[in-house]
């Protein structure tokens, strides 16, 4: 199929030499031309400003609670005594749980879980208190579900605490009756106590934990896609030769002039994100401003480098964009925030190194979230710089594509 059919308003405008003064070539001319394209094409504005802002607001407001509070749980209390009711009240008082319903049997409660009415439940069989008083070790159970891992883990914690408290309550009452002091009772019931220090995120705030990977991941996704898009559309809309002309047939002028305006825009969006989460929402960032700024710069240039490299490898708009989509989407899994990379197959551990987001996360983890020197993540720094420099390998190829290739579907 012939390519002349793609009519793009810009082609027509450029024919007149609208935004570049007639005959002007060189870096500045390419730079201005690119700026003009960006600010007159709606899809650039949408993907550079509108959607990134939307993503930022989405994740930060979605997880605004920090931890899922008041998740619905049920109670199956066949004993119905002061003791079981007390345990129920204690469970209800926990931050993460909310006792919303009572059921007459385990089956009913299980059905309620399948209908999504509750996420877990506690079961007190008949005679629990009697057996407890008679020292015949009754057995209660709690049911929770890891079909939602976050909800499951948090409910498990609360339900288990209640179950353990039941035992401790009995022990404490017996010892008090025998006249032990509170200190003695504690030393007997819990001779070894665990002091948990959840370093830098003592609230176990999921917003701090997930947003700081998801939003940069999405920003990098847009850069991944827009870089080959901006290069490929030159071919698609038959502007490539004109671009070469403006660039004076120099591959560096072409590439830098084309990518630098995007770098500046993406960088300002990335810094806006940083300002929003660290400055306004107060996410932990003990690494300090310099690390945040450097990491933002590396994230933008590495993603651009990767996108341009993919286009240079296969100067077909569709193939390079498809590959970049694949890369961007897989990044969210291979970054290793939710499911750690060390737990994956060794082959995947290796593959994960080919994803800029993985290195972004390692640097973030080391030098922004925790306050370690950048040198501790030097491998990742080198990798990010290498990603940024990748287009150097294919600059010639990109120029060749602009000169000779036709848009392929």
């Amino acid at each position: 199929m012939t390519q002349t059919k793609h009519t793009d308003p810009l082609t027509a405008e450029q024919g007149e030499g609208m935004q570049t003064p007639a005959g002007r070539t060189g870096f500045i001319a390419v730079f201005l031309r690119e700026l003009h394209i960006i600010f007159t094409t709606p899809v650039y504005l949408i993907c550079m400003f509108l959607l990134p802002m939307f993503v930022m607001v989405f994740f930060t407001t979605l997880m605004d609670q920090g931890q899922p509070n008041k998740m619905p749980v049920g109670i199956v209390d066949l004993d119905n005594t002061v003791t079981t009711r007390q345990l129920t009240r204690k469970l209800d008082a926990f931050q993460n749980t909310d006792v919303v319903a009572y059921y007459n049997s385990v089956d009913e409660a299980r059905l309620a879980m399948q209908r999504n009415e509750i996420y877990g439940f506690m079961y007190f069989p008949k005679g629990t208190t009697d057996k407890l008083l008679a020292s015949r070790q009754p057995k209660i159970s709690f049911y929770y579900s890891y079909t939602s891992l976050t909800a499951g883990a948090l409910l498990y914690k609360d339900l288990k605490t209640i179950a353990t408290l039941g035992s401790a309550g009995v022990g404490s009452a017996t010892m008090q009756a025998r006249g032990y002091t509170q200190k003695q009772i504690m030393a007997f019931l819990q001779p070894i106590a665990v002091d948990l220090h959840a370093v830098k995120n003592p609230w176990t705030n999921y917003n701090f934990y997930l947003t700081t990977m998801l939003v940069p991941g999405c920003l990098m996704l847009f850069i991944f896609l827009l870089t080959p898009y901006s290069l490929g559309t030159e071919l698609k809309f038959n502007r490539a030769r004109k671009l070469l002309l403006v660039a004076g047939d120099d591959k560096w002028t072409l590439l830098l002039g084309k990518l630098l305006p995007q770098t500046l825009i993406f960088l300002s969006v990335f810094y806006l994100y940083s300002l929003y989460v660290y400055g306004i929402l107060g996410f932990p960032h003990s690494g300090g401003t310099f690390h945040i700024l450097l990491l933002g710069l590396l994230a933008v240039t590495a993603s651009q480098g990767f996108g341009a490299f993919m286009f240079g490898l296969m100067p077909s708009l569709r193939m390079s964009m498809s590959t970049c989509s694949l890369w961007a989407v897989l990044s969210f899994s291979l970054v290793g925030t939710a499911f750690p990379v060390f737990a994956m197959d060794p082959a995947i551990e290796g593959i994960a190194q080919m994803f800029p987001l993985r290195h972004y996360f390692r640097i973030y983890q080391t030098s922004v979230f925790n306050d370690f020197p950048l040198s501790y993540a030097w491998v990742n720094l080198v990798a990010m710089i290498a990603f940024s420099l990748l287009p150097m390998l294919v600059a010639g190829n990109i120029r060749k594509a602009m000169r000779e290739y036709k848009y392929m579907e």
């Binding site: 579900s145 890891y146 079909t147 070894i192 665990v194």
Partner: protein, 417 residues
């Protein structure tokens, strides 16, 4: 007879359009990638990534200033636990901290100097657990292991102090109220079992959005006038066009859905508690609503590649809105509302509960109804969008024709004068 004829005509046109659309899909490499290759390959990739399901042997650094029997026993038990291993022994907390910075461990277990002394004095003693909070599963593994070991050691100490005679007495002393933990449904706490069902469902919607959007962009680009619908004698009724196209996609996606929702869980031994008939009943409105949803959005695509820019990023957000990662009960009302726009929200919720929790169609009736409502709404929208596009195309052609005629008339007038 005429009604029969008319019906036959409609059927023939619909089938023609369906066949034409199928041909388009299989001829266009770009569309083929999204409608066939990605749904086939992605689940395999994801299943491979999450194949190990759980994080085992998380490296822990030990700082033992106590050098006592109990601290060493605690350390040995950490090493012996399935979820953790002792990777380092450091001489100070600061040394351990530096090693964490270098990624050699994800947590520190710290025994202060007086750890054993306090135990001997019959006082409560403390063990410090410091976790790197940047990986939640590592934190969970270390913390839960330490709590379990603490419980075990505490029981042993209690038994020693109680001076009981029988094992049964010991059991009752350490745990007067026994309890059982039952992780129902996903009983391995596996990450793959948790995330994959949602991802499988999401892949259906996202690939349809990409594939259908790209096909529509191509149709526009290939059309000389930038129209979505070609001018052809069989493409005359909006109903025929919408149904013809939808049937083509449905034919492809029935196969894909069978692969994604039945074969993939079978290959990788993911939880699958759903029966085939229930699954078929549930997927039908899901596929239809996804198809009509994609067709509605696809009409807005001007160029074929734009669809990637606008669709790919939404995958993660849609997964979060479905309530798999972040519990549904805790999604703010506003986003709950937004989530109702997407078939994936109800599709994922229903499928996860049927597939992973053994719910029946009655248990997911809310989601099932919502999907049928979405099917109807998006069908009407797709219909309207197509009708609007066709009307616009007709209008444009009409104008062009008029202009040509005027030109012809004026030129003939010129000739005459």
């Amino acid at each position: 007879m005429t009604t029969m004829n008319k019906f036959f005509n409609i059927l023939r046109d619909t089938c023609y359009i369906c066949l034409q659309e199928l041909k388009n899909v299989f001829r266009d490499q770009g569309v083929l990638i999204f409608l066939v290759v990605v749904p086939l390959a992605y689940p395999l990739l994801y299943s491979w990534i999450y194949n190990n399901e759980v994080a085992r042997e998380v490296p822990v650094a030990i700082v033992d200033l106590s050098h006592s029997h109990t601290s060493r026993e605690f350390t040995r038990m950490i090493d012996a636990s399935p979820d953790t291993r002792v990777a380092l022994r450091c001489n100070s907390l600061d040394e351990a901290r530096q090693r964490i910075g270098r990624g050699d461990a994800y947590g520190v277990v710290y025994f202060p100097e007086d750890f054993q002394t306090r135990l001997n004095r019959m006082e409560q003693t403390h063990v410090g657990v410091y976790c790197d909070m940047s990986i939640m599963l590592a934190y969970k593994a270390i913390f839960q292991t330490c709590v379990a070991i603490q419980g075990e050691l505490n029981s042993r100490i209690q038994v020693k102090l109680s001076g009981n005679y029988t094992d049964r007495e010991n059991e009752i002393t350490t745990r007067p109220l026994d309890f059982q933990e039952v992780p129902i449904f996903n009983n391995t706490a596996g990450y793959g079992n948790f995330i994959i069902p949602g991802v499988l469902m999401l892949i259906i919607q996202q690939t349809l959005l990409l594939g259908v959007g790209m096909a529509a962009g191509t149709a526009r680009e290939k059309n000389n006038y930038g129209f979505l619908v070609p001018i052809h004698r069989r493409y005359r009724g909006v109903m025929r066009i919408v149904w013809g196209k939808a049937m083509a996609y449905l034919m492809i996606y029935v196969v894909m859905a069978a692969y994604l929702l039945c074969a993939v869980p079978y290959f990788f031994n993911f939880i699958s508690l759903v029966t085939l008939s229930q699954l078929a009943l549930f997927s039908l409105p899901y596929l239809l609503s996804c198809i009509f949803f994609s067709m509605t959005l696809s009409a807005m695509m001007r160029y074929r590649e734009n669809v990637m820019l606008l669709v790919v990023f939404s995958s993660v957000m849609l997964l979060f809105m479905s309530g798999v990662s972040w519990p549904q009960s805790n999604i703010p009302a506003f986003w709950q509302g937004v989530s109702w726009l997407f078939p994936s929200t109800f599709g994922i919720r229903g499928f996860v509960r049927m597939n992973s929790m053994g719910a029946t169609l009655t248990d997911v009736s809310t989601e099932y109804r919502a999907l049928w409502i979405q099917t109807i709404v998006y069908f009407v929208l797709a219909h309207e969008v197509y009708r609007f596009n066709i009307a616009k195309a007709r209008h444009a052609i009409h104008h062009r024709l008029l202009r040509l005629r005027l030109q012809a008339v004026s030129s003939s007038e010129d000739n005459q004068s």
